[in-house]
């Protein structure tokens, strides 16, 4: 749980541009926010850069935070938006359309292994690894809908795509993830 008084003190220091306070805030959220970035961007160096950009924005916008909502949630939203911007810039074009060619695993067979997958206890590292194998389009929608709890309507607005595309991308992302997990676990069994 956030220690609100300590947090307020750190934020106060950040507002006065104190390096120590900025470092404390950075250290407080680094691990969680890097994990967020790694779900959107598969290259670790790029993820680190995006995180730094995110923190620059956080320091810039701190004065508008009013401590009415969750601070971590606020930080997270900025980091997620920064990550999406970065994907958009990297492609120099609207990328968030469904594009099967981006996906590395061929979705040849329909997989109906809900029961098997239910039994799996998925480690976070493996989950991130699997998400990173998705195309940016699928990955982004999956992260926003499943992990960040945005609605398809919100995702459509954020990414400049239709709600239908968002739903379709999510469905394909899930299908591809199942295939990745199934292959992964059959490898383990061998």
């Amino acid at each position: 749980m956030e220690n609100i008084e300590k947090l307020k003190e750190i934020v106060e220091g950040c507002l006065q541009n104190k390096r120590r306070s900025q470092e404390a805030l950075f250290q407080m959220f680094y691990g969680k926010m890097l994990a967020v970035c790694m779900r959107y961007i598969s290259d670790q160096d790029t993820a680190q850069e995006v995180l730094q950009e995110g923190f620059i924005k956080i320091f810039d916008k701190l004065e508008v935070f009013d401590f009415k909502g969750s601070f971590e949630g606020w930080v997270r939203r900025i980091v997620v938006n920064t990550a999406i911007d970065s994907i958009r810039k990297a492609k120099r074009a609207p990328i968030l359309k469904d594009n099967d060619n981006d996906f590395k695993v061929e979705a040849s067979n329909e997989i109906e292994e809900n029961e098997k997958i239910e039994l799996i206890e998925l480690r976070a590292e493996k989950a991130v690894e699997a998400i990173q194998k998705l195309s940016p389009a699928y990955r982004t929608v999956f992260n926003l809908f499943v992990i960040e709890d945005y609605s398809h309507k919100e995702i459509a607005e954020m990414l400049g795509i239709s709600e239908g595309t968002s739903k379709s991308n999510l469905s394909k992302a899930k299908k591809n993830l199942k295939q990745i997990l199934t292959e992964e676990f059959s490898n383990l069994r061998e």
């Binding site: 541009n17 104190k18 390096r19 120590r20 900025q22 470092e23 950075f26 250290q27 680094y30 691990g31 969680k32 890097l34 994990a35 790694m38 779900r39 680190q48 995180l51 730094q52 923190f55 620059i56 320091f59 809900n114 997958i117 239910e118 799996i120 206890e121 998925l122 480690r123 976070a124 590292e125 493996k126 989950a127 991130v128 998400i131 999956f142 499943v146 992990i147 469905s171 899930k174 993830l177 199942k178 997990l181």
Partner: protein
Amino acid sequence: MRNIEDLFKKSLKDHELPYDKKAWSEMTKKLDAKNPGTSNGLKWIFGAAVFAVMVTTYLFLSSNEASKERQAELIQTEDAPADETNNEILIKNPVQNKLKSTDQEVDNKFDKEFCCGDEAIVVQKPIVEELNIKTVGTTELQQPVYREVAIVPLAKDEIKSPLYFSKPKDRCLNSDFSYSNANDKSIYLLWPSENLEEINAKESLDINLDEKGKYQIGTLNQDQEFKEFVSFMVHQSSVIQLTAKDYLDFENGLPELNVQAFSDHPVDWTLNGENIAQKSNSENFNLFDKGSYIIKASTADVNGCQSEDQVSFYVEKNYNLLAVNAFTPNSMDHRNTYFMPYALTKRDAAFKMIIIDPSNGAVIFETMNADQPWTGINMNTGELVEENKSYVWKVVLQNPEKGESPEYMGTIVRL
């Protein structure tokens, strides 16, 4: 289709990667590039420059003012020693300084000058400043006057404008420090690097103690010289450094990672946030499960200053008693004619192992002794089991290690 969502959501809910100290230095570069004028060094230089100008101005003005007044009053003239001074003015400026603790963190280790009361620090050696002012002619009085100051004891009844100081405890390097000035005039903090920082009347100073050494708190006398009233030390904590091997050592049959701490003081260890009872400088950690581990060590030196370091390690496979998955009872190579998980031959652990035929669920062998491995014989029939068939082995440990699962299982193929 909901399952996969829940699966990912659950596994990523509190996912957090370990902190990387290098990341902050990269971040600092970005912040510096954005706000080039806000680095601490520049702030200090700028602050020092402003302060120097203020002090010079104040000295110049106050000296002129004081000289004029003193010329007008000419309080008392004494026989001067044989020097070049025509007139010597002795100004007794009695100041008894009574220091009261306003900080709850009053230390018992007061300087010898101070007497310890419940709440008060009283200066036992008050000061008198004896000023020798050159008054050669009227014109010379317009110039700044340079004076020497002598400190002598003051009589008890000559009390004037007491100042209150609390005595801070000694601190550790890079800790935060706050000091309140309860007086009606400014007091000053002198850093070990001789930087002087003003604490305005009735205000507080909040700083980070990023220099080690003696910090003094006091006032400026009429000559703008710093006079210490209380002081405290800032200690640099002893550095702790961890080194770990980059592989697990299975020499004792356990997945051990040895981590060494270079420190002169007892070490407190944590493994993924959980405290470890041992405190020696070299510890072995059993990492049974696949995944990331963060091992941290911290020490506190004689001054109570803490330092910490950490190593992270990723285990690629779950530990399964180092069992092979095939054996050949009829082989000429005797090393592979029986089955016993390797770890059980190295560990001095009480256990029971059974072999099950998965085709009918029958237990076809059991042992509690690492020297009696399975040779491929079905104890129910007395015959060698079928070739190229998988059998299930299961081991139950009576006294598993801390954090270890008591049960292991796997398959073994008879070739």
